[in-house]
Assembly symmetry: C2
Homo-oligomer: 235 residues x 2
């Protein structure tokens, strides 16, 4: 028969239409003023139908976050296929994240929404939570891989622990991307206003910073390489 399979496909298709309607609303009015009645109207279904496909409003937004993390993860994985020194892969992963957010601000909003929900207990009743988390973990693993490649080919200082370094790069690049997002999307974000900003070259500045550091050579001997994580196994 294959009826159930066909229904499943149709269901997924209808879901995707509803997600697209929601994305449009977010692009137009922002995530804060997303409301279910409007999504239903835009998707040309009733509110009740909407709730047949999504558990609740959070679930709907996490559905968008799921698309976002899938897309980002795909882009980042593609970077790892390139035959380049590890440091360049790290660079490209960061640049990929940067342009992803610039091109899809509504996806970044959905991803921040997911981060915010992590503070609450409401995450469990979404079908998308685990998928979003897995996608981001996968992307993070790509960063670790790029670092490991760099340590092997001699382009990245191998005195770091790869995963620990990945965490630092993950956190700092999120900070950069977030600032870029705000500069692009927030009317009241003034920090960069009195400087002519080119986001691409600001990111290059970031890469230079983590590449070379800010200390003078005289200072550098004061730094050592010990891990910043507690060792679990010792007394």
């Amino acid at each position: 028969m294959g009826v159930t399979e066909r229904k499943e496909r149709e269901k997924e298709f209808k879901k995707s239409l509803m997600l697209e309607a929601a994305e449009e609303v977010i692009l137009e009015k922002g995530l804060d003023s997303l409301n279910m009645d409007e999504v239903a109207l835009k998707a040309e279904v009733s509110k009740g139908s909407l709730y047949q496909y999504f558990n609740n409003k959070n679930d709907l937004v996490l559905g968008i976050c799921n698309k976002a993390t899938l897309l980002l993860n795909e882009d980042i994985q593609k970077v790892l296929t390139k035959d380049l020194p590890g440091i360049d892969l790290v660079h490209m992963i960061g640049a990929t994240f940067m342009s992803f957010v610039s091109e899809h601000p509504e996806y970044f909003r959905a991803m921040r929404f997911h981060d915010n929900l992590k503070e609450t207990a409401q995450l469990e009743d979404s079908t998308y939570h685990h998928s979003c988390r897995d996608n981001m973990e996968n992307a993070f693993t790509c960063m670790v891989r790029a670092i490991q490649i760099g340590m092997q080919d001699g382009s990245i200082n191998s005195s770091y622990n790869p995963k620990e370094l990945a965490i630092l790069l993950w956190a700092t690049s999120h900070g950069m991307v977030n600032m870029a997002y705000q500069h692009q999307n927030a009317q009241h974000f003034n920090l960069l206003d009195d400087l002519g900003i080119n986001l691409k070259s600001m990111f290059e500045g970031y890469m230079k910073l983590i590449g070379c550091g800010i200390a003078t050579d005289e200072q550098k001997k004061n730094y050592d390489s010990q891990s910043f994580f507690e060792k679990n196994g010792n007394a």
Copy 2:
């Protein structure tokens, strides 16, 4: 008489009581489930009174953000009074931010709320918006000063533009602080779970990163020092 002055003081005092009530609610239930009825109840005033002191719910949260930014700014300014090399001042400013967020998660939430509102038009009808912005700008200026001091005393590489470097450090340290916040406050934030984390030493890792960079010496000659901002004045 001084009656109006006294009334003004009393009004400020009552405002502060209401803000404290709101902070308690945020600490207990999180910012998302903050509701005005509960704040009114906790502050032992009617809802109507609450709205006589604050324009709306956003205004109330920005009132907390105002306290937060005042406090943070005060802490950061104190750092600049120390007689230390500039690089150490930068270090201390970051560490100050880090422990501020760790000790006052509800204040950090309010600050993120403010950042989020910057994307909307709703900011104008808050009395606190400009104050919050000024406080953060002030803290940012402290970072610039610390960098300038470091360039003069030879502890920071002076090939950077101080303000541009401050922006990079501002963004990246926000990223670090945000990750630390999530690790401490979000049940569903798993990224650091399989590592024993000590936030203080993770921050040291960050300082080492921006201090020394990640590249090998061989790689470093590939970086140059050009500004990442467009020059405004040229053709």
